[in-house]
């Protein structure tokens, strides 16, 4: 966890960030890290109940931040915190969310974190397995980038952070479709960085390694052991370690970094 002074020196206070897949794991860790940095948040996930739980935790973080600044707690948090329980594969719903965000003053930071992993050997992969993983891991990312970039242009720039995966860089047996969908995100990141640079929009990607999240439960023990043996730091990553990298990429500390895929994987070697 970053300390309070460091959070403030990021100078992200008052910025607005959208985080997809925010309700648990890496997304929830990002939401907490950004709240501590004083960022106003728009959280997107499928499950409303989980989002509401997170929102309560975030309100406590905001309260603590305000107390430390000697400010009064707000009567309501609508300007600091909003959430949408939607499926990002629903194009109409995504457009509606961004229309609503536009009326709230736009967005400075987009974190495309929502993801889906369905491990299967090649012979057992159905068309719907391909479609469902690409829909959320790749196509939804493209759509969110399309809408968010237009809002960022209005505001004079921004930072887009796409959460890719170590598997998109190195691959893994039984993970061909997930790996392909995440590799596509890396290509998207590098190309959009070129295309959006003239609007002062930076686009980067984080490729987490094995992070201790619910998504990891879908991997077999054999797969986990196989990967752990290749991690220099010999442990799983923490969601907060990805969130910290995200803070860096969102802030002006990374103002000359765009089009990069940053591995947060404890030193994976193949």
């Amino acid at each position: 966890m970053l300390n309070f002074k460091l959070d403030q020196s990021l100078q992200l206070g008052g910025k607005k960030a959208i985080i997809t897949g925010a309700s648990q794991g890496i997304g929830a860790a990002m939401a907490k890290a950004f709240a501590r940095a004083g960022v106003n948040l728009v959280l997107i996930a499928r499950t409303e109940a989980k989002l509401q739980e997170l929102v309560q935790e975030l309100q406590l973080i905001y309260d603590r931040e305000l107390q430390q600044n000697g400010e009064k707690e707000p009567d309501d948090y609508t300007s600091k915190l909003s959430f949408f329980a939607v499926d990002l594969t629903d194009e109409g719903a995504v457009k509606k969310i961004f229309s609503d965000i536009a009326t709230l003053g736009g967005v400075d930071i987009l974190i495309n974190n929502a993801g889906k992993m369905t491990p299967k050997p090649l012979a057992f992969i159905k068309s719907e397995d391909i479609q469902s993983q690409f829909e959320i891991n790749t196509f939804a990312v493209i759509r969110c980038c399309q809408y968010a970039s237009r809002l960022m242009i209005r505001n004079g720039g921004g930072s887009i952070i796409n959460i890719s995966s170590m598997l998109g860089e190195y691959g893994q047996q039984g993970q061909s479709i997930y790996s392909a969908s995440k590799a596509a995100v890396s290509g998207l990141t590098r190309s959009l960085a070129q295309e959006l640079a003239s609007y002062q929009i930076r686009v980067n990607s984080i490729a987490p390694g094995i992070i201790n999240t619910p998504l990891i439960s879908t991997l077999s023990n054999a797969e986990k052991e196989q990967i752990l043996a290749r991690i220099a730091l010999q442990r799983l990553g923490k969601p907060e370690e990805v969130a910290n990298t995200c803070l860096f990429l969102a802030s002006d500390w990374s103002s000359y970094i765009t089009g990069q895929v940053i591995d947060v994987d404890g030193g994976v070697h193949f």
């Binding site: 457009k95 009326t103 399309q146 809408y147 809002l151």
Partner: protein, 84 residues
């Protein structure tokens, strides 16, 4: 026609002029995408962003692709209840 509708042609002219960095005298319904150096794909995106901000709308991707001229832009904006 309301006051804001009366102003819409002028508001549109201003958006085109600012986002393409051209003078208002160059703007007419026949001006087409890629027909001048200033209206390239980069400027098109800035144009879309400014149109959305000015008229408080969110355009569909198909409409962004179809926006091939100033005249066509007016037609598309009518779908979003922006009258001329």
């Amino acid at each position: 026609m309301s006051q804001s509708e009366t102003n819409n042609p002028q508001r549109l002219m201003k958006v085109f002029s600012q986002s393409l960095a051209i003078s208002e005298s160059q703007i007419n319904d026949d001006l087409e995408y890629n027909s001048i150096q200033q209206w390239d794909s980069t400027a098109h995106m800035a144009l879309v962003a400014q149109l959305e901000a000015e008229f408080n709308i969110m355009l569909d991707i198909d409409d962004i692709i179809d926006m091939s001229s100033v005249g066509k832009c007016k037609e598309i904006l009518k779908k979003y209840n922006v009258e001329f």
